[in-house]
Symmetry: C2
Subunit: 244 residues, 2 copies
DNA sequence: CGACCCTTTGAAAGGAATCAACTTATGTGG
DNA sequence: CCACATAAGTTGATTCCTTTCAAAGGGTCG
């Protein structure tokens, strides 16, 4: 379903990219010249599948999506969670065959651009070329953070690290309300992301709440003790590359 | 220590890039025009540190390097292992501050190019721009494979998956001898990569040997039963993007 | 030949998974 | 607006895979 193209929605991308690069007027015009197709999906909807050869990439306007690999036993590993402003399949611009799937976690509004347009834009503007390339590099950096969590941290530490990351990303995307933000994730999803069982996620969450590090109900998450969370999760935001 | 610049060493890069793109003559000349600084390091040598702001990137000519994050307790997570033909810090071309360290695992010979040269080359040739971008995307895909191993696979499965990946990458880099290749890694390094203790790595390796899936001594690894290894590790080489 | 690093082995402890049930939300239709 | 159905969260008991601890064997190199 194609919905109306609102200027405000396009600005999501401008906000994101201007954050990291000094865009010249010409670049801004190139970005504004992109034509987007808007599409909405319900929660739990797979919108890109392994093996697909996408001809366009999407920008998340609203909602949360995840990058998934399915396993034989029906389990699945969530490699990454993406929030508004992210372009979860920007990589398909140069990796022709998808090596994973993308699915919505919550109800989502996505904006699609054709690869051809992006390629053209990258050839015209070295600045934008770098900006988009850089987006894929930061996406990869988030993957390294996942490695760290999965490989070295305990269940409780993983959860703390994860919350810290999300808080920073939400803040960067300017969708926080003070130290409160809305994470529309079930404990099952969090478990699939952190390599934990739902039961473990639940218990660790309760511990974090009991330790008064955070409050959370129905996805509405409030950080109560940031420094303690950071320490527990050994969280170092360098990998988010928000300031370089 | 800067050593002599051999033509053969430069070809490592050409081989790698021509594998994935149809290079035009002009591109090949641009690549040949790059000036490399060759440097050698002993094993266990950290050559890029967290927080560094590199002005050049390296290509591995010989040896194995690793991408590392150090933790408080002295443990470290190895995010990735790189082999000849890989450019482990190509990402520093656009991520100014390193969010991890790079270290040699075995004795290494590295070839360095200045970022300025690479940037210039990317502006001159859209093809090469894509080729290098794509290299960083594949690097990220390897990270997703790590996620999968760490998050969903048992110790034995992780090891199997890992061996499968290395075999494919070694083959692509043309440094195999039939089903035999040289992995200069201690069990400790493998453990740090797979999120396992040295003891577990050792026991799983013995199992794989006992099951006659592979043979290995002093890093010399021989695959005895490829399909069984692939099945055990649930290995799907799509993410290596060797054919697209 | 001894020092050192890597590998191997055994026994015990522990963190998280699993299984199963129960409670609390969310949502739909009568 | 309540009854029922479904999804999400919570709890307890048990099992199991890995880790940890500790020590012995084996290879390499000065």
């Amino acid at each position: 379903m194609v919905v109306s193209v609102g200027i405000k929605q396009q600005e999501v991308l401008l906000d994101r990219l201007s954050f990291i690069q000094n865009l010249k007027q010409a670049d801004i015009e190139l970005l504004r010249g992109l034509s987007w197709d808007f599409q909405e999906f319900p929660a739990q909807h797979v919108f890109v599948e392994v093996g697909d050869r996408p001809t366009r990439s999407c920008l998340i306007i609203e909602g949360v999506t995840c990058r998934i690999t399915d396993l034989q036993n029906g389990e699945r590993q969530i490699h990454a969670l993406h929030i508004p402003g992210d372009m979860p399949d920007l990589l398909s611009l140069h990796l022709k065959v998808m090596d994973h799937s993308l699915a919505t976690v919550s109800h989502c509004r996505l904006a699609y651009v054709k690869h051809a347009q992006l390629q053209d834009l990258c050839e015209r503007s070295p600045t934008l070329n770098v900006a988009f390339w850089r987006e894929t590099l930061i996406d990869a950096a988030l993957g390294r953070a996942s490695n760290l969590r999965l490989g070295e941290l305990s269940a409780k530490e993983r959860l703390a690290h994860f919350v810290c990351e999300m808080r920073c990303r939400y803040e960067a995307a300017q969708i926080t309300d003070g130290s409160t933000f809305f994470l529309p994730l079930t404990q099952e999803i969090i478990g699939e992301f952190l390599g934990l069982s739902t039961v473990s996620v639940n218990r660790c969450l309760q511990e974090l709440r009991g330790d008064e590090l955070l409050r959370s109900e129905r996805g509405i998450t409030t950080i109560l003790n940031w420094s303690a969370l950071v320490a527990l999760g050994q969280f170092d935001p360098t990998y988010l590359h928000l300031n370089d």
